[in-house]
């Protein structure tokens, strides 16, 4: 390969990686927000993303919605599902040992996966093309309209999330609870309501990711959340779990690394690269890119 085509390949994979990575980022945000508040790795989060894709599928095929109403429908549906899951599965375990809650989360994950198989059959479904798939050429680089929609949607959603967390009352309450739960309770903050809101927001973002992936790959199935769920978890750890900008950056980096490995080495090494990153991060910087060393309270 000469320098020109190498550069071309690099830029092309960068484009692919950023659009894939912005979906990881959307899922990783939910992981990180829930961890920030409950110190719980919600292993059912990838399945919420799957649920969101199915809600989007129902909205576009059965209800005939166009893209924007469909993604909103999926986000609202998943937000409600997230609230219900927290209320039924996690809240009774609030004071249980951490490992018990983790196992509960794995149970919820199976329930969603196999529950969806029961309802929708294990067959993959073809996600309808909700808008024309145009292809744009920028010199030798190829960008399709789906990649643009994914990136723009992800940026808009992350901007809205940042606004909510930084400037609204519930957002400030979330940060307070995540920093010091007891002090937040002494301010009159209703912890249960903040936790519900966190699950709602995180689930809605994952659902948006699910719909965008459905549009991108045209296909959804009940187990589609497993691998992206774990990858988004890696992204959250990479950025620093519990840190919102960390999840965004971690997602994009992971997407770009995967695209580069697929483009320059082989796409069969893609998953190995993702988990290789996890191992390296855990070995050398366990707190993640944005993480600080945690000071133990005396």
């Amino acid at each position: 390969m000469d320098m020109g085509s190498l550069l071309h390949q690099f830029l092309q994979q960068l484009i692919n990686g950023i659009s894939l990575g912005s979906i990881y980022a959307l899922i990783a945000l939910g992981y990180t927000m829930i961890y920030g508040i409950l110190k719980l790795i919600n292993f059912a989060h990838g399945d919420i993303y799957m649920l969101g894709a199915y809600f989007g599928f129902v909205a576009t095929t059965m209800l005939g919605f166009s893209f924007v109403p469909a993604i909103i429908f999926a986000m609202v549906g998943a937000a409600i599902a997230g609230i219900i899951i927290e209320r039924i599965a996690y809240r009774p375990m609030r004071n249980a040992p951490r490992i018990a809650i983790l196992i509960t989360a794995i149970g919820v994950s199976f329930l969603l996966e196999y529950g969806m198989m029961l309802i929708a059959t294990p067959q993959p479904r073809t996600f309808p093309a909700v808008f024309a798939a145009d292809v744009y050429h920028f010199g030798p680089l190829v960008v399709n309209s789906q990649q643009i929609v994914i990136l723009v949607s992800a940026i808009i959603l992350m901007a809205i999330l940042t606004y909510i967390v930084q400037y609204t009352k519930i957002g400030k309450a979330m940060r307070a609870v995540s920093f010091d739960t007891d002090a937040a309770r002494l301010m009159g903050i209703n912890i249960d309501r903040v936790i519900s809101a966190t699950f709602a927001l995180g689930s809605a973002l994952a659902a948006a990711g699910g719909v965008l992936v459905g549009i991108y790959y045209n296909s959804i199935d009940p187990l589609m959340g497993m691998v992206p769920g774990i990858k988004a978890f890696v992204a959250a750890v990479l950025g620093g779990i519990g840190i919102i900008p960390g999840a965004m950056v971690g997602g994009i980096i992971l997407g770009v690394v995967e695209a580069m490995v697929s483009g320059f080495i082989s796409s069969t090494f893609r998953d190995a690269a993702a988990f290789g990153i996890l191992i390296i991060i855990l070995l050398y910087k366990p707190a993640g890119i944005f993480g600080k060393n945690v000071r133990e309270k005396v």
Binding site: R175, A176, D182, A183, A184, R185, M187, G188, I191
Partner: protein, 234 residues
Amino acid sequence: MLKVSNLDVYYGAIHAIKDVSLEVPDGEIVTLIGSNGAGKSTTLHTISGLIKPKNGSIVFEDTDITGMAAHKIVGMGLCQVPEGRHVFANMTVMENLELGAYLRSDKAGIAEDMDKIFQKFPRLLERKTQVAGTLSGGEQQMLAMGRALMSRPRLLLLDEPSMGLAPLLVKEIFNIIKEINESGTTVLLVEQNANMALSIADKAYVLETGRIALAGTAQELASSEAVRKAYLGG
């Protein structure tokens, strides 16, 4: 205003608070003194609803608040400044104060109260856009008190406000507590610094290994032989 009767609190199998009864009359400063580990903070946490008691009752302004959720108790006008300040170190001074007013929705009143707090604590005004974690210990104590006042409490619980502060600052903080009380807020003050606490309080209780050992007016206790020996350094 506050009446705690026959309170028993357990941490697992440990009986931390044993049959504690105390009363805080409207408008007064009542102090709860005692050595480290006597159960002072546990008593306050139980009153605030962070810990549920095994037995006993807590009545605040004729309402039984025993076992009520912490956020509801704040809504009733009872707010605590916890030991070790517990400011939200990753947020600005302004945001901390706003969180103090979390249950209120009267924007004009909140802005007015924030001005009052900046008048009371001019150093907070200078640092209002600064992240709370960068403040000194004394400033954090002021912020924690200001934050609690933002909820317009009728009863303020203060847990070790002098902890880790230089003597000059301790004096300043205690003057402010007196001011807060004079402007109409009843205070329940927990302190290891018995000297300072007794100097501003009306009534006092001495807590020893989870039990009320002595009770009386602050003057009585300050002159009591037992208290002077154990808590006032002779």
